[in-house]
Amino acid sequence: MSARLSRRTLLVLMAGSAGTTMIDIGPAAAAAPVTYRIEGSDATVALAAAAAPVLLYAARRFHYEVDPIRPGEVAPLFGGTGVLLRPGAYPAGATDVLFPAQVLVIRDILVGCGGLVRWGGDDRTPSAGLFRLDVRPGDPRLAAWHAAGGSTPGSSPDPLQPSRRTAARNLKNRQTR
């Protein structure tokens, strides 16, 4: 509960239903998807182990700050290197489905993901509930992001901080297709 690393490790270990195993955060572990729970919700999703920490971070904050996710409202994509949240609410091609305050938070989540994740809302055919790796599953930055930890779970940064807004804008320019 004190070290950030411990929180993250636990988050991952707690994840999912019975049968989940401890993840190996090294680059070799891109293989079989593992079932995790999205913290704070009762929803679970099978993800590639290397992608899981950063995608679960995105999903958790989406659940807390954008739109609550109920069981069954999340699906894996791209072999568990992407996650589709509330596909019924945010089907591909649907526009104007998120309010400005929600988009603001999503931009901040992407900043929190350190540029390792791209948002489906920036795709040519928008998919507002989609988050997927923007790097290869073996990319060492994934393990580094995980090891560095982040903010305390359940404490959201203020998305209006100028530095975060600038970072969000830069990221959007880089990732929009």
């Binding site: 004190s2 490790t9 704070g40 649907a94 203020d158 209006l160």
Partner: protein, 776 residues
């Protein structure tokens, strides 16, 4: 199943089945999200939106805004049918799914909006945001567990802020929830003058600094007082009379100031009766003001002399450290050899934490709780932690309310069993969110809570008050000190008077041993004194004499031998007034134990389902007072069964909750069990020692239940007799006094209730006994 709902489902399926992107709904007659989504998609189709979605987003809202409000004469056809279908699903009768917005539909909308905005504030048309509300599962009528006071605040928030772009209708169910807390953040931001773009509902630095400019004190009036009084209500501040603060007001009255002082006392803030910055933060977010001084911390790093000096100089006195860990983990966090000595040498105390990481996710199971507790016990014995030390078992993630029921509670039941099977040397505490702590305490009697308040966005923190038995509240991660003294900690607010934590290990004299020596000494004095009363009885009289020797008690169980009291005092003795129960870690009141035991010894167990004055000295008097409390609160709790389930024999802070606490039940049970063993030639010193030191407390409730109450039916009958008998005038007068002094002179006495009504209450008492008997 509701036939009208089924018709609505049938209609939406039939009408939109062939529309691309429409998802049909099961025609079950039961309202649920799928039905609301189907109606949402139907609406989007009617509005000409190409890609249909479950989300009622800005696109749908804008299209409705372009149309304007919908009322009589303003629309016909399918849009009206969607409104009418949704009305049925929400429980408001529009008079049919007709496609015509007539008086029936208008009446349904009037009723619904009166629930949303408050009586008299009903509206005749469906505005776009109201349409969005219609297509949710939110309730606008009070539901079980809700209160009228909270509902009024919800309605007020809807009325005042619905015109703001980022505000949407919140439920009006009377329940303080995450949604309500978020709405409060928005309300604060709007009142601070933030624009719609800046009012994000995030409790960030801008909001905090804004609040700092709105300190309030007695005499203040206006909107800020109103918001503050609502926030205070959500924190369930206990008032002196056993109720909680539930006044929504624009005036900062003396009563409000008094409630603020109670909250400040409870939350360990400066007690000034003012809504200052720290108090504003406390009522709005689970960290409170994270920058305030904390006397405690926890860390995963070894405390060296340098670090201990850093912590001491920074004002820390209580340090949370890990007892043990799995060698599989990547973190090296457990207490090092010699570390405890370093900590104590530097004037610091320790509170031990148990947290293992399993390789399997199902870590929160009964079996793991059991084995974790046994391992924690072994580790704690290894360090020399004394009997009665509280060990905090950690739930270090955001367990949802459902998971608390399915996993966390069973885990803690395992912890309880594991500690008991190890000889019950240690007592369990709980680390987790507010909701985890409160529920684990309610269901497994955790002694103290260590709250992870820092994670203020957790589902288990937002929408829940600080638990009654909190001892540590974790509010901020920070690094203190320089160079060798540098250390990262989580700062905790410590609540004085709770867990004293540990200042030394490998010490033998404990409070329990002192108590047993005290009883032994009293017994020796009683034997030496002689007199015409048995020595065992004289000892009990001495134990009770300070608090339980006024006229009613003398009438109930007889006088004490004043000469013996004087004799003992002349010879000199250090009074022991409290003793920590080895099983629950709760401090028992020695005089109450003595009085109850005195009564049970003098009167014995009555035959059959009868009751006697000895019972009144124990459980009977407690039950009478508790009955009075129920009658006092009966507007909120019509069912005596529900009242018992929520309030009877719980672990709770001495300043809150009812009078018949778990502590009282322990004292009643022990008094009875001990009196049973005091017959014949038994010597009270031996009996107490065997009971408290050698495991008698492990089966106290099961014995008490079997020996005094003998099954559910008998327990109910005995409780009913206690509440209604007129055979003994002393019992009758005592009952009258206890009930009326608790609930007022006009209170309905048990004999005045309907049979059914009283039956539910005694059922609650009997159930509670059975439940506690399951603990041992």
């Amino acid at each position: 199943m509701d036939e009208r709902v089924r018709q609505a489902q049938q209609w939406v399926n039939t009408t939109y089945r062939s529309v691309a992107g429409f998802v049909p709904v099961p025609e079950s007659g039961q309202t649920g999200w799928p039905t609301m989504y189907a109606l949402t998609r139907a609406l989007q189709h009617e509005l000409g939106i190409a890609t249909l979605s479950d989300a009622f987003g800005p696109g749908t809202l804008a299209a409705l805004n372009a149309r304007g409000p919908i009322g009589i004469g303003q629309a016909t056809g399918n849009i009206v049918k969607i409104i009418q279908s949704a009305c049925y699903c929400k429980g408001y009768d529009p008079g049919g799914i007709t496609g015509t917005f007539g008086l029936g539909t208008e009446s349904a909308i009037l009723n619904l909006t009166a629930d949303v905005f408050g009586a008299g504030a009903g509206q005749r048309t469906v505005t776009p945001k109201l349409f969005k509300a219609l297509l949710t599962m939110d309730a606008y009528v009070q539901v079980s567990g809700g209160t009228p006071a909270v509902r009024v605040v919800q309605q007020w928030l809807n009325s005042r802020y619905l015109n703001r772009a980022s505000f949407f209708v919140i439920p009006c169910d009377g329940i303080f929830s995450r949604d309500v807390q978020k709405a409060m953040y928005l309300a604060v931001q709007y009142e601070l003058g933030m624009s719609d773009a800046d009012a994000t509902g995030v409790f960030g630095p801008g909001t905090r600094s804004g609040l700092a400019g709105h300190e309030l004190a007695e005499g203040a009036t206006g909107i800020w007082v109103q918001l503050f009084s609502a926030a205070l209500m959500f924190n369930r501040v206990a008032l002196g009379d056993g109720s909680v603060w539930s006044t929504f007001t624009t005036y900062f009255t003396p009563a409000l100031a008094s409630a603020v002082r109670t909250l400040q006392q409870f939350s360990v803030l400066t007690v000034n009766g003012r809504a200052d910055y720290a108090t504003w933060c406390q009522v709005l977010v689970s960290t409170g003001d994270p920058g305030r001084r904390g006397e405690a911390c926890d860390c995963v790093t070894e405390i060296t002399d340098d670090r201990a000096r850093t912590l001491y100089a920074a004002g820390y006195r209580y340090i949370g450290r890990y007892l043990d860990e799995d060698d599989l983990t990547v973190i090296d966090k457990m207490i090092r050899p010699g570390e405890l000595a370093t900590i104590f040498r530097n004037g610091l105390r320790v509170f031990p934490i148990s947290q293992y990481y399993g390789r399997e996710v199902g870590v929160f199971t009964y079996a793991n709780g059991y084995s974790d507790a046994r391992r924690a016990h072994t580790a704690a014995v290894g360090y020399g932690f004394a009997t009665g030390t509280v060990i905090y078992f950690a739930v270090d993630y955001d367990a949802t309310d459902a998971e608390i029921g399915s996993h966390i509670i069973p885990y803690f039941q395992g912890v309880v069993a594991g500690l008991a099977s190890s000889g019950k040397r240690y007592v369990h505490g709980v680390y987790g969110s507010r909701n985890v702590c409160a529920r684990v305490t309610a269901q497994t009697y955790a002694r103290w809570s260590f709250v992870s308040g820092m994670s203020y966005g957790f589902s288990g923190n937002m929408g829940f008050p600080l638990p009654d038995n909190w001892a540590f509240n974790q509010v901020q991660t920070l690094t203190v000190g320089q160079d060798a003294g540098k250390i990262e900690i989580d700062k905790n607010i410590y609540r004085p008077g709770t867990d004293p934590a540990v200042a030394a290990v490998n010490v033998t004299a404990t409070g329990l041993e002192q108590f047993l020596e005290y009883v032994t000494k009293l017994h020796q004095r009683a034997v030496a004194y002689g007199g015409d009363r048995p020595p065992n009885q004289l000892v009990l009289e001495f134990l009770r004499h300070e608090d339980y020797n006024d006229l009613p008690w003398r009438t109930l169980i007889g006088t004490v031998d004043g000469t013996f009291i004087t004799y003992v005092k002349q010879l000199g003795i250090d009074m022991v007034r409290e003793v920590r129960d080895p099983f629950f870690g709760i401090d028992l009141k020695v005089s109450h134990l003595g009085a109850s035991c005195n009564g049970a010894l003098v009167d014995g167990r009555p035959g059959g389902n009868d009751v006697n004055r000895g019972d009144v000295a124990g459980w009977g008097g407690d039950l009478m007072t508790f009955y009075g409390e129920w009658r006092r609160d009966s507007n909120q709790y019509p069912s005596g069964l529900a009242y018992c389930r929520e309030k009877l024999a719980k672990v709770s802070d001495p300043t809150t909750g009812g009078t018949f606490k778990l502590r009282d039940l322990i004292e009643d049970a022990d008094a009875f069990n001990l009196a049973r063993r005091l017959g014949g030639t038994a010597n009270i010193a031996d009996v107490f020692t065997a009971y408290y030191r050698d495991g008698g407390t492990l089966t106290r409730f099961s014995r008490y239940y079997a020996d005094r109450f003998n099954g559910q039916q008998n327990a109910k009958a005995i409780a009913r007799t206690m509440l209604t008998t007129e055979a003994d005038l002393v019992i009758l007068a005592g009952r009258d006094y206890l009930i009326r002094s608790t609930a007022g002179p006009l209170t309905a006495m048990p004999g005045d209730l309907t049979d059914e009504n009283l039956d539910a209450f005694v059922q609650g008492f009997a159930e509670m006994l059975l439940d506690r008997a399951g603990l041992g």
